[in-house]
Symmetry: C2
Subunit: 417 residues, 2 copies
Amino acid sequence: MTSTMQKQNLQTLKGFRDFLPPEKRARDLVMAKIKTTFERFGFEPLETPTLEYAELLLGKYGAEADKLVYSFEDRGGRQVALRYDQTVPTARVLSQYQNELGKGFRRYQIQPVFRAEKPQKGRYRELIQCDADIFGSTASIADAEILAVYYFIYRDLGLTDLVIEFNDREILISNLMPYATQDLTVFSIIQSIDKLDKQTVEEVATELVAKGLSAINANKALTSIQQVNPSPNLVNILNVAQELGIPQENLKFNPTLARGLDYYTGMIFEGKIPGESGSVGGGGRYDKLIESLGGPNIPAVGFGLGFDRTVEVLESRNLISVITLTQVLVTIFSPDLQGESLKVAQSLRSAGINTELYPDPSDKLDKQFKYADKKSIPYAIVIGQDEVDKNVVTLKNLVTHEQTTLLISEAISNLKI
Amino acid sequence: MTSTMQKQNLQTLKGFRDFLPPEKRARDLVMAKIKTTFERFGFEPLETPTLEYAELLLGKYGAEADKLVYSFEDRGGRQVALRYDQTVPTARVLSQYQNELGKGFRRYQIQPVFRAEKPQKGRYRELIQCDADIFGSTASIADAEILAVYYFIYRDLGLTDLVIEFNDREILISNLMPYATQDLTVFSIIQSIDKLDKQTVEEVATELVAKGLSAINANKALTSIQQVNPSPNLVNILNVAQELGIPQENLKFNPTLARGLDYYTGMIFEGKIPGESGSVGGGGRYDKLIESLGGPNIPAVGFGLGFDRTVEVLESRNLISVITLTQVLVTIFSPDLQGESLKVAQSLRSAGINTELYPDPSDKLDKQFKYADKKSIPYAIVIGQDEVDKNVVTLKNLVTHEQTTLLISEAISNLKI
């Protein structure tokens, strides 16, 4: 570190992260698997810019959220803002390219979004959002497809115990409407009910009483909503979802799930991993949102997946196998044998094996092994004079320290697990 | 489009782009191939944040470039800036995590960078940079590895005719130094010489005379630099590069290649595609840059690849095969047969086939075929009562309009090309 360097220069901004190779590899792996599942369900990728006109984003998320939008004036005097979510830019895309996209547009989007929030454990200012939506259909198959792709993403990642809790906004509204008064909206009642996953029935009843309900009505409201059955709409969706392969035990009707109140119009759901607190994202049907954001009048159903949370859960369960991208280090026995190592590296790479070539021919072999170890490269290849004479290589397993001498073609088959 | 929408809302900012599925698919495909080649050469992924302290970035790229950095004050009063390149943040990373990264860190980085430049054809304000560097080695193998991974990226993308023009900064300096005077630096002479790829010898000679050289010296300088041979350093690197698999015909010594003057210290190179103007990126050795940026004193060699330019060339040569992510649309014959379609969609997906399920069971079959056509989905599957009775499906090729009736297992093998 030079004396010209300021301490501050050495830091990332709070809430922003560097991903060094081990973490970046893990994240890339998870992302690639998610992408594969999206595409297996016919979802197509979309990308929108990091910067948009501030006017597009502000006023769309509510006054509180507006404060969390990174916005500024650029050198051309334009008010610009960093992407805050992927829904508003997509509403713009749906307006701008209506003819190209057509009906039945199903897209996924995996991009960073930016939120000037107070950073805290698990909450970042730059984070990956991972959304999928089907636009232009109100059919229950569309809802079920969304549940299915969500379930299979987690199943394919190894989280086979994911539970999808689901509900229908109509259930909440029709069952709680009778308790609404001029002073107490049904939405306010739902807000209290939504707390049942963290509070006792008594606590929620107390809150409802404090909001103005009689004790009798508060209890009636609570009892009735807890005993309600899935709506016909929900039953339809669930049948289709099961035919699409979601096992019944991974689906759980939760009549008190509210999932925000703002824009959902039908089925809503949240993904929960047993043993982990909170959800790993969720979604639902929002048939009026795109229009209210300034887009066309187009029904939609979809979800946002908590990418960081999902990676954390996978890591805590050791479900991301410690992948070493680089399978083998080709060492250089001595400067005069360098050419042999180059040839072997070239053969391995031609065979599709991820191969690092040690760059400094004058370094001792021991130093080269330590280098591979430090980088968690599992194998090293040594080509000394003996090996050259016999036209073979020595393949050393750096974990078990076993070594075998074999033809280069054999080494290739051994490394090609 | 609703009346609440402002015209401006519907636009991306100039110099910023949406990538709709066809373009995004092509870009993702190219990116995945580049990633694969990087990893085959032992390079590992690194990611740094989009936002940094402005102080880290400003003053690093020169006064002109500083004006192109998107910087602003965030809500916490911090001066922040959008990533302008990947080298300065990496210099920070090299300082901050010296112990973790160690010697021989070879990383690739593929991220957007932001430049408040005047947008014009092929020049964007948000663009993908794609860098790879080896840190901590001065050995010629490191230089050759950089040339090799660069060559193989293009070869694997199908651009087998890529020509790597190379030179050594030492050649330029030692050969032109004799013509430098107190009023005319060797760098100024090099700057003129660098124009030989676009200007005639006469034009460059005229420029050198205008800069103060005598006509005799200008011609001598031009003749001498054009006739010079590769330095021993360069010969070494080239031998290694060829042993690593770069064919000789893809390498071209160009003693007048200068590639900017600011920070290269040894081998320099540029990739050119025959028949295309300009370069598709390049790089070289820069042993002092990381320290001058405030990082540790660490030698480095690497390159930046022109991602947008490369995608353009691939598209113009039809080298990105029109990939359809979604292989088949499962149609719904009639609402009462919906369940059969669901089952088939589930089987296809289980077999790893990218399958879209048509969402609206009441739409006519013809409409469903048109939908698949519009999305360029090449196949459709039909399951009518006949098919159900015989436990088969009809597979329709939407390009040739051929259709065959076969077992679902046979349909799967047909689709699994």
